[in-house]
């Protein structure tokens, strides 16, 4: 077990409201696997990922990495961001080197590692460009290279392909699948794009609507490369989509009910 979540609950207090984003989430991530987390929008899947990244803390429950309790960012857990989050005043290679710089690695070593990674993500020759000169896809390649530079064991991807046009995203996904295959690092991708999850994942964790619980964990046995038009792909998509759709209706129902309750409450107050 590489990463383990036990009874993780996340509650936000905004008096007088108390919002439970995540409720009693328990699951584990196997070493070297590609796990995708899907769920309706706003269900808290990004919050979950941020907690594993050490950027947020559970209200109760535990997150363990290699058996040790996780309370802060870990040097072996890295992250790729939906917004790319490149530092604009740094060149491509300086961005990739960021984590290594923080660690105090010598200049020569940093440059070597960074150049290797830039070649791996297909950006050789662009190392001295600034982020403003890059397309979205290129920026995310830099983001991926930066995440890999510190040689992490776990790579967290928070909707990493969601801000990129579909064509570029498609090729980027294939590259990430390739990188996963070669490096055998543990990848954790949060996405609202179900076909994307099915294409990449060894297992898919389906979260329910808020308060999010683990609705289902689906293992994907298909051989790679996975074609979205294959009948097996389509059938898996249909099943999981049905799960998600039920959740979506659930959450709409719940909103309607809570809205109704609120309306009644206010009306009762007026009557008094």
């Amino acid at each position: 077990m590489h990463v383990e979540l036990s009874n993780v609950t996340k509650v936000y207090e905004d008096p007088p409201q108390i919002v439970t984003a995540l409720k009693d989430i328990s699951f584990h991530v196997n070493e070297g696997e590609f796990l995708c987390i899907v769920g309706p929008s706003g269900c808290g899947k990004s919050t979950l990922l941020r907690m594993i990244a050490g950027l947020d803390h559970p209200s109760s429950g535990q997150i363990r990495f290699r058996g040790d309790l996780l309370t802060a960012p870990h040097s072996k857990i890295s992250m790729v961001f939906q917004t790319f989050a490149l530092l604009p005043w740094r060149t491509v290679i300086q961005n990739v080197e960021f984590g290594l710089e923080v660690q105090g690695r010598p200049k020569k070593e940093r440059a070597e590692v960074a150049m290797d990674l830039l070649e791996m993500v297909g950006l050789k020759g662009s190392e001295n460009l600034f982020p403003k000169q890059l397309s979205g896809g290129m920026k995310q390649r830099v983001g991926i290279a930066r995440a890999l530079a510190i040689d992490p064991e776990v790579v967290l991807m928070d909707e990493a392909f969601s801000a990129i046009d579909e064509f570029t995203a498609e090729s980027l996904r294939a590259e990430v699948a390739e990188i996963h295959n070669e490096t055998r690092k543990t990848f954790l991708l949060v996405t609202h794009n179900l076909p994307e999850a099915i294409e990449l994942a060894d297992r898919i964790l389906v979260l329910s609507a808020r308060p999010a619980k683990v609705k289902s964990i689906v293992g994907i046995e298909m051989e790679r490369p996975r074609i979205q038009t294959d009948s097996e792909f389509v059938s898996i998509h249909r099943d999981i989509f049905a799960l998600l759709q039920a959740e979506l209706e659930n959450s709409i129902m719940r909103h309607r009910l809570s809205g109704l309750k609120e309306f009644k409450r206010l009306r009762d107050m007026e009557d008094r």
């Binding site: 941020r50 990244a53 050490g54 950027l55 960012p73 040097s75 857990i77 890295s78 992250m79 961001f81 917004t83 989050a85 530092l87 604009p88 005043w89 740094r90 960021f98 984590g99 710089e101 923080v102 660690q103 600034f130 982020p131 403003k132 510190i150």
Partner: protein
């Protein structure tokens, strides 16, 4: 363009030289003054006072603006006070200062710093507020400590705002200082201008020459520092 208009108006005799000295006369006066230790001392003093004032303001305000930009609770408590103080007229503050500290360079530097406070405060505060949250996530995930987060992320991020703030501070400070040098009884271009008025037949010429000096200094500083900074920023902005 303005210069050619000025010169042609003077040469045509449209305006008498006692009302508006001709440009070439002013330039000659400027060259003459530039060789005078007396004048240069005044210029130097003004410049020193402004630079000291702005530096002082920067050192005092920078940490405050940083904190306020990062914690909105502090911001809500402190910024209204700063705005209130900033609305007070500089001249009134100076009079107060002179009463308390007495006349002299200390008061001049103080008033210089006072007028420099506000541009620096607001530009840096704005810069910090505009830092995307994800940048902080990046520094956290890659385990940058407080100092590294500051040097590697916050500082470069707000550098453009800092440049703007310094530029404005410099301008405000100059203007205020020149206006109040006489009141503070310090040496400086303002004092030079007011002391030269009425002292000779060509005092207006010399006055204009002194004003032109201020303009030239500002342009020189702009070219030497601020434009260089701006070019660096333009590479990545």
């Amino acid at each position: 363009m303005i210069f050619s208009l000025w010169e042609s108006v003077s040469l045509s005799g449209l305006v008498s030289s006692s009302q508006l000295p001709a440009l070439h006369d002013v330039i000659l006066a400027l060259i003459q003054l530039a060789g005078t230790p007396f004048f240069l001392a005044h210029v130097g003093q003004s410049f020193a006072n402004v630079t000291t004032g702005v530096s002082l303001a920067l050192v005092l305000v920078f940490p405050l603006a940083l904190l306020v930009g990062m914690r909105s609770q502090l911001d809500q408590a402190i910024t209204p006070i700063i705005m209130l103080v900033g609305a007070l007229p500089d001249l009134a503050i100076l009079t107060l200062l002179v009463t308390v500290i007495g006349r002299g360079n200390v008061a001049a530097v103080a008033i210089s710093a006072f007028s420099a406070f506000f541009p620096v405060y607001f530009t840096i505060r704005q810069g910090v507020k505009e830092i995307p949250g994800d940048y902080f996530h990046v520094t956290s995930v890659f385990k940058a400590g407080r100092v590294q987060t500051f040097t590697k992320m916050i500082l470069p991020s707000i550098f453009p705002n800092l440049v703007t703030g310094l530029r404005l501070s410099f301008e405000f400070s100059w203007n205020v200082l020149l206006a109040v040098e006489v009141i503070a009884s310090v040496a400086g271009i303002g004092t030079f201008i007011s002391s030269s008025i009425g002292s000779s037949a060509h005092s207006l010429t010399y006055g204009l020459a002194a004003i032109m000096t201020v303009g030239l200094i500002t342009i020189a500083i702009d070219r030497a520092f601020f434009e260089r900074f701006e070019n660096r920023i333009k590479r990545w902005r």
